[in-house]
């Protein structure tokens, strides 16, 4: 479509503004993470760039140094608190294990389930699909206590396995529905052609259908990863010694004060793995994957 120059310029300005609005919190967050204590709590107003940048917050949260050590090295003044409870290296590892694990588990189960739901005849399929969707109606807080009891009885409390299962349970409904919509776009003649070519159901699924919807699978995986990466409530209730990132960050709000420096540093770091993950899958996130299998 042709747009006139002024309209195009207006559109560009608008787009830039929207991007700024959405980027600002991230910018502010990461900026705060390299501010010294005094700049974060400057009571004269927000500090933008006139401060001495420091990596102290990162050294404490990511390298496990105590605040004293970190301060001595950079020659800064000592703030309140300190100690290794801000060391988040294990947390990050655990969060990655849980997010990656639950994403893989979700994708494996959901692709199979959605293929069956998309292709095989089933009595009352509509009701079953609605039931799957309805799993998302309930606020998780309403179910968290029963889930906790069930997990205790199954000895899954405070285990990585337990958390992976919990996050998989959260993600499966939406993943199944999403993947089914991608599968429904692949015409059934493709399955039939493969079947006539001699493929079994499973071969058809693995060698023909799955590669055709890999864009959809990638998109779904991103979604599942982000849900698990940012999930708070279940992680809080189902674990005590294991700490995922959101739970860990919440512990930085202490009775003696809020450690904004550590919160922003860890929050900024938390963007990185999901960013990498999205980069890895984004080349599959192209539209029109079935392009060319049909006449037009």
């Amino acid at each position: 479509m042709q747009t006139s120059r002024p309209v195009q310029i207006l559109k560009d300005i608008l787009a830039t503004l929207i991007v700024i609005v959405f980027m600002f919190p991230i910018f502010w967050w990461s900026l705060s993470s390299i501010k010294p204590y005094t700049a974060i709590f400057n009571k004269d107003g927000p500090v933008y760039f006139d401060f001495q940048p420091t990596l102290q917050n990162y050294e404490v949260t990511l390298l496990g140094k105590s605040r004293i050590e970190s301060n001595l090295e950079s020659g800064g003044t000592s703030g309140a608190g300190g100690g290794s409870s801000y060391d988040s290296r294990e947390t990050i590892l655990q969060s990655i294990i849980v997010a990656v694990g639950s994403t893989i588990l979700t994708i494996v189960l959901s692709t199979l389930a959605s293929y069956a739901l998309s292709r095989l005849p089933m009595r009352g399929k509509q009701h079953f699909l609605f039931w799957i969707l309805s799993q998302r109606f309930m606020p998780p807080i309403a179910a968290v206590i029963p889930i906790m009891f069930m997990f205790r009885d199954m000895a899954l409390l405070d285990t990585l396995t337990g958390l992976i299962i919990a996050h998989t349970l959260i993600n499966i409904p939406i993943a199944v529905l999403l993947l089914k919509s991608f599968l429904d776009d692949v015409p059934k003649e493709i399955d039939e052609a493969a079947m006539i070519d001699g493929a079994t159901r499973l071969q058809t699924f693995r060698r023909i259908i799955l590669p055709m919807i890999k864009g959809g699978v990638a998109a779904t995986a991103v979604l599942c990863f982000i849900v698990s990466w940012t999930e708070f409530l279940l992680s809080l209730y189902l674990t005590t010694s294991i700490r995922t990132l959101p739970v860990k960050i919440s512990t930085f709000v202490t009775s003696t004060g809020t450690e904004w420096g550590f919160i922003t540093a860890l929050g900024t770091s938390a963007i990185v793995p999901s960013f990498i993950f999205i980069l890895l899958v984004q080349r599959h996130l192209v539209r029109g994957l079935t392009l060319g299998s049909l006449k037009d």
Partner: protein, 352 residues
């Protein structure tokens, strides 16, 4: 190569019966076209032969084997779909080798088969392209390539040309026919395009509402339609039909026009009938017995279609002469008496 036999086959979707006990036998190596209007059950019948649709009643045989419960992959058939159903993530080569790979055919055999198919179908330059990088006609050929590399006993085509433009369709029609003459594989071809049917088929099977109306060679069904439906469906422009009754050995239309009937006509006196005459057997002729007024004149180049009104019905005459008639002109017409068809008005069946 194999024969295909369809025996009393019925297809039901729940309570809905869409195929009503069809019988059909297809000779080894022949090219059979299933022809009929949309929704008549052509695809359903083809898919039952392919094994993609369960058979409600009756038997389908490939060769001497009843295949009702045989999985599609074990029927040794190949199918080309209307939308081609190519594997989008595979190159042309991979699309064609998929079936052979699954069978664990040796590498050099696969290579040889693909080279052979590609040379027949002129696909050599495109073997490493993806389907989305091909034109419609090329995709169509890939779909055919995928079918022929497997060396099946039966080819099934479901309206393979309906998505191509008119010119390409004519070209592909010839290519498919050549392919059949070369491979001599039993072929069942579904279409609703009667020109395709006439030009390609050894045998045309005309279907309507889940019944076979007539089966025969193209010229048989054209020259001797069994009933009004076939008479009207085959031929373009379609057969002229005039309602009336038989009186004193002649046909008298509702408007009172009398037409002499050929000798030995089996129609009973007073019987309500429909007279059919093909446009090419209707001639403008100053000495003709019928009088009419010219409505529309359509020159197509080699021939001219002249529409005129007779007893309130549009009748068409096809002539190769340059008559120069204009709309509104009075015209006299002559019918080839030995080309007149009579149908019983109530049953629609041909009176022979």
């Amino acid at each position: 190569m194999a024969t295909v036999t369809v025996r009393d086959v019925v297809k039901k979707y729940g309570e809905l019966k869409v195929i009503h006990g069809i019988n059909l036998s297809i000779a080894e190596g022949s090219f059979v076209v299933l022809l009929g209007p949309s929704g008549c059950g052509k695809s359903t019948l083809l898919r039952m032969i392919a094994g993609l649709e369960p058979i409600s009643e009756g038997d389908v045989l490939i060769g001497d084997r009843v295949v009702n419960d045989v999985h599609p992959k074990d029927r040794n058939i190949a199918m080309v779909f209307q939308n081609y159903a190519l594997y989008a993530h595979m190159t042309v080569r991979e699309n064609m080798s998929f079936a052979l790979d699954l069978r664990k055919a040796p590498k050099d055999e696969i290579e040889r088969k693909i080279a052979w198919a590609a040379s027949i179908l002129n696909l050599e330059p495109y073997l490493d392209r993806y389907p989305k990088q091909l034109s419609g006609g090329q995709r169509q050929r890939v779909a055919m390539g995928r079918a022929i590399v497997r060396n099946p006993e039966v080819f099934l085509f479901d309206e393979p040309l309906s998505n191509l433009d008119a010119k390409l369709r004519v070209q592909m029609r010839t290519e498919i026919k050549e392919l059949h003459q070369r491979l001599k594989t039993t072929t069942i071809y579904v279409t609703h395009d009667q020109i395709e049917a006439m030009t390609m088929a050894d045998k045309i099977v005309i279907m309507r509402n889940g019944y076979i109306e007539q089966a025969g060679s193209p010229l048989e069904v054209y020259d001797n339609p069994d009933n009004l439906f076939v008479a009207e469906f085959i031929g373009s422009p379609s057969m002229n039909l005039i309602e009336g009754r038989v009186e004193g050995g002649r046909f008298v239309s509702k408007g009172g026009t009398a037409i002499a009937l050929p000798a030995g006509c089996k129609a009973g006196e007073g019987q309500a009938v429909v007279l059919g005459i093909r446009p090419e057997h209707t001639h403008p002729d100053p000495a003709g017995a019928l009088e009419a007024r010219v409505g529309v004149v359509e020159p197509t180049g080699p021939e001219t279609h002249i529409y005129f009104e007779l007893d309130g019905r549009d009748i068409c005459a096809v002539t190769r002469e340059r008559t120069g008639v204009k709309p509104g002109d009075p015209i006299r017409l002559r019918l080839d008496a030995d080309r007149i068809h009579l149908f019983d008005q109530a049953s629609g069946k041909a009176i022979r």
